[in-house]
């Protein structure tokens, strides 16, 4: 039983400071428990990958489900994100007449920040929730216990293929999403600002944004890892049937989103 939930603590006489302190303590303990659980899972994943004897068929199956089936939704999202970036920068470009900068400005924001973050959030919502629900259902229906009994390590058989697929596929999806966002921005550039698509792409190329593009891919790598750890952690610790699965999905999506923003801040800070 968590310390904060213990009857001894609950029965203490009320004081003006008691409730906020108890709530704060409970929050800290919960955060420590979640962080500790995720760290342990990460260690177990790394241990299961040495030697690399994970299930190849399951990894390919997961990569298809996680990556290929996400291409359409990521492309569609990225197209509009790119267009939106242009809508936001449009008034500034009109005011200053800096049409040559529009490709560079949109590319900088899209490749380094907005693209990877929004694609990561979309990926966390679609893939992370699905993964937490799938693993949670497997726990509830005793499939994970069955694997243990059969001498098959659930981490090696279930978690490692998902974790690797998420990392690889989110990097690839970031590439596809970046391209789609820039296409969306260039089309919006022509349609909204009346600036030729050629001028947009020339500005982008002249901007030498390889560094920003690589930073976006590195973010995709870490976002994929974070979503993998978070969704597997919540999926594997489901208790209490369908309601527990629902809670796990909710927590996985919220924590994935928080993890994406934290990782984004850390990578950007270290990169620049």
């Amino acid at each position: 039983m968590p310390l904060a939930d213990s009857p001894a603590l609950q029965d203490r006489p009320a004081s003006p400071w008691a409730l906020p302190l108890v709530l704060l303590g409970r929050g800290v303990l919960n955060a420590c428990r979640v962080m500790g659980g995720m760290t342990l899972l990460q260690v177990r994943i790394l241990r299961a990958m040495i030697p690399p004897t994970f299930d190849r068929d399951e990894t390919i199956r997961q990569a298809y489900k996680i990556g290929v089936q996400s291409v359409a939704v990521v492309t569609l999202t990225a197209l509009f994100v790119g267009g939106l970036m242009l809508v936001q920068t449009g008034p500034f470009v009109r005011r200053t007449g800096a049409t040559g900068m529009v490709g560079w400005g949109t590319g900088l924001a899209t490749l380094a920040e907005v693209g990877p973050v929004l694609i990561g959030l979309m990926f966390g919502g679609r893939v992370g929730s699905n993964n937490a629900a799938e693993l949670g259902t497997m726990v509830v229906t005793e499939q994970v216990e069955a694997l243990r009994l059969l001498g098959i390590d659930p981490i090696r058989y279930l978690v490692v293929p998902r974790f690797l697929s998420m990392i690889v596929m989110l990097v690839l999806l970031t590439c596809i999403g970046d391209l789609a966002a820039l296409v969306g921005a260039s089309v919006a550039c022509q349609a909204i600002l009346g600036i030729e698509v050629r001028v947009f792409w020339q500005g982008l190329i002249d901007g030498h944004l390889l560094d920003e593009f690589l930073m976006g891919l590195v973010k995709g790598f870490f976002f994929g890892g974070a979503i993998g750890i978070v969704s597997c952690h919540y999926g594997l610790r489901v208790t209490g049937g369908a309601a527990g699965v629902g809670r796990a999905v909710n927590e996985a999506v919220v924590t994935s989103a928080i993890a994406i923003f934290v990782v984004n801040f850390l990578v950007t800070s270290l990169w620049i």
Binding site: M1, R61, V140, T141, E142, Q143, E145, A146, R148, L149, L150, G151, I152, D153, T239
Partner: protein, 250 residues
Amino acid sequence: MPDAARLDDVRTTLSGVPCLQGVRLALEAGRMHALVGPGGSGKTLILKTIATLLPPDSGTVSLFGEPVPFGDEDRLRPIRSRIGVQFQNLALFDFLTVGDNVALPLEEVSPPLSPEERDRRVAASLQAVRLPGGVADLPIQALSGGMQRRVAVARAAVARPDLLLFDDPAGGLDPVTTSRIFDLISREQRQTGATVVITSHDIPRLARCCSRFHLADAGTILFSGTLEDARSHPDPRVRDFFQEVQDAAR
């Protein structure tokens, strides 16, 4: 004959609730045992403890004459390879075909089986539970509930384990399919000589195949013995339980 499994004063608490409260149980090897009791009496938890999946808070669990090293996955693996379990929820993998589900226990068999031998064992196992060979390539969802239960029985027995645990193998099934499943389990036990434990509420059918009954009640084992012993047991709770379920069955 030595005991295939022995539980001594096993106590387990889950989420702060004491679930098993001093379970003492000995399962004589090579026999069919029935583990019965009212809902919530701890039957499934006892099975999971025997299956080495639920470490007790205190007490000792011995399998095949050796204490179970809970927490040591490497040492548990060879013990688990001698146990087959049909879970209450069946625990069939919906991303695998019927054949792959049944073949899963054979993946870790030592020495490894050739693909041909594995396929032969899977086909024989499906045939034993009266499923046509064609179902091996079907997804699990394509089968009815009764057929899925038979697949779960086939998977539990395919590696020819020394200890077979069936958690409500006929739950929710019609009487004809229920009889078939109990017959299949009996035949499997006769052929392999394995120790079998079945939990079920169907006392009349259990009486036809099991020689030992164990009555679980409120996280303990109230009674172990034959059905005749139960009927003349001094504890009225034991007599009443068996009488009531038999009356209900009539």
